[in-house]
């Protein structure tokens, strides 16, 4: 999702091809094609595909918080509803239930999703900002080349300067992609570890609904 790695590989190939271009008018034409393609490969990413999930998770968290308030209110009310072992036992059960809902609503659910959905949006915004900058550098190099319209007055030095600019732009985009990719690998690893911890925590029997209270 989000970052197709083939973009990095293609950009690297473009980078290598640019450095191998002959400093001739035909090389300049190929340069323009390669840089145009590199600009397309560095187009900003979107997080639209995770937005519906983010909305659902935020709404679920709100539900869990309201459920927690009700359970805590019930626990308090039970304190003045009478006395005896049954009441005490129910109060302990409610307190444990409240603690567990609190954990799910407050920490275990909140942290990974804050990390996973909201923060992913921030990462993508940062990546896009870097991509826009890299694309700007490449576009400037392309504009520089476009001024050398008359091939009779081909100036190798100007071509060389444009090529250096385009290479720098591509390198900026590759670096931004690689940084995002590493961050995403860490995020997925962490999410999977948390999910594994949640599933194999303690002697949790998934067929026993009340076992959630004794974990």
């Amino acid at each position: 999702m989000i970052l197709p790695r083939h973009r990095i590989d293609e950009l690297r190939a473009h980078h290598d091809a640019l450095l191998g271009l002959p400093m001739t008018p035909p090389g300049m034409v190929e340069f323009a094609q390669l840089v145009t393609s590199a600009i397309a490969l560095s187009r900003p990413l979107t997080v639209a595909e995770i937005e519906p999930g983010r909305v659902l998770v935020e709404a679920a968290k709100a539900d869990l918080r309201r459920a927690l308030e009700l359970i805590q209110g019930a626990t308090r009310a039970l304190g003045s509803a009478g006395e005896g072992t049954t009441r005490d036992s129910a109060q302990r059960g409610l307190a444990r239930l409240g603690d567990r809902v609190d954990v799910v609503a407050g920490y275990e659910l909140h942290q990974p999703f804050a990390f996973g959905l909201s923060t992913i949006g921030e990462w993508v915004a940062y990546l896009n900002q870097e991509l826009v900058r890299g694309r700007g550098v490449m576009a400037a190099a392309l504009a520089g080349i476009a001024q050398l319209t008359d091939l009779r007055y081909f100036v190798p030095n100007e071509f060389g300067k444009s090529r250096a600019g385009a290479v720098l732009g591509i390198l900026d985009c590759i670096a931004a992609y690689e940084h995002f990719d590493r961050t995403a690998v860490d995020a997925v690893t962490m999410l999977d570890e948390r999910a594994a911890d949640a599933m194999f925590q303690g002697d949790y029997d998934r067929l026993d609904p009340l076992s959630v209270l004794v974990r």
Partner: protein, 106 residues
């Protein structure tokens, strides 16, 4: 050890738990509907979308289990309320019987 409880209050608390159950069902339902379109290039890189979906579904299961636990506690409170009322009725009957001469009991 004394056993004193207000059955009406126990039922009111059980009703609070009913409301909490409805919210837990809603939360679990939302979490189980979290879906991210599959990445056609997932073999090439970290699949954040799939990881998030797996995670959301784990929490959906847990939330549904909490709902069942809440339901069982609410049922327990209602059963206790009924038991207290039945005990009161039996005590009242026994008291009436004790206060009534044997020949006049119905």
């Amino acid at each position: 050890m004394s056993y004193v409880a207000d059955p009406h209050e126990l039922r009111r608390i059980a009703a609070l738990l009913d409301d909490a159950q409805a919210l837990l069902v809603s939360a679990g339902d939302r979490l189980s509907r979290v879906a991210v379109p599959p990445d056609p290039h997932h073999g090439e890189g970290p699949d954040i979308g799939s990881a998030l979906v797996r995670f959301a579904h784990t929490y959906a299961d847990e939330t549904f289990a909490l709902k069942v636990a809440t339901e069982q506690l609410a049922t327990g409170l209602r059963t206790s309320a009924s038991a207290y009322e039945e005990t009161d009725r039996e005590a009242a009957r026994a008291y009436r019987d004790a206060a009534t001469p044997v020949g006049r009991r119905r």
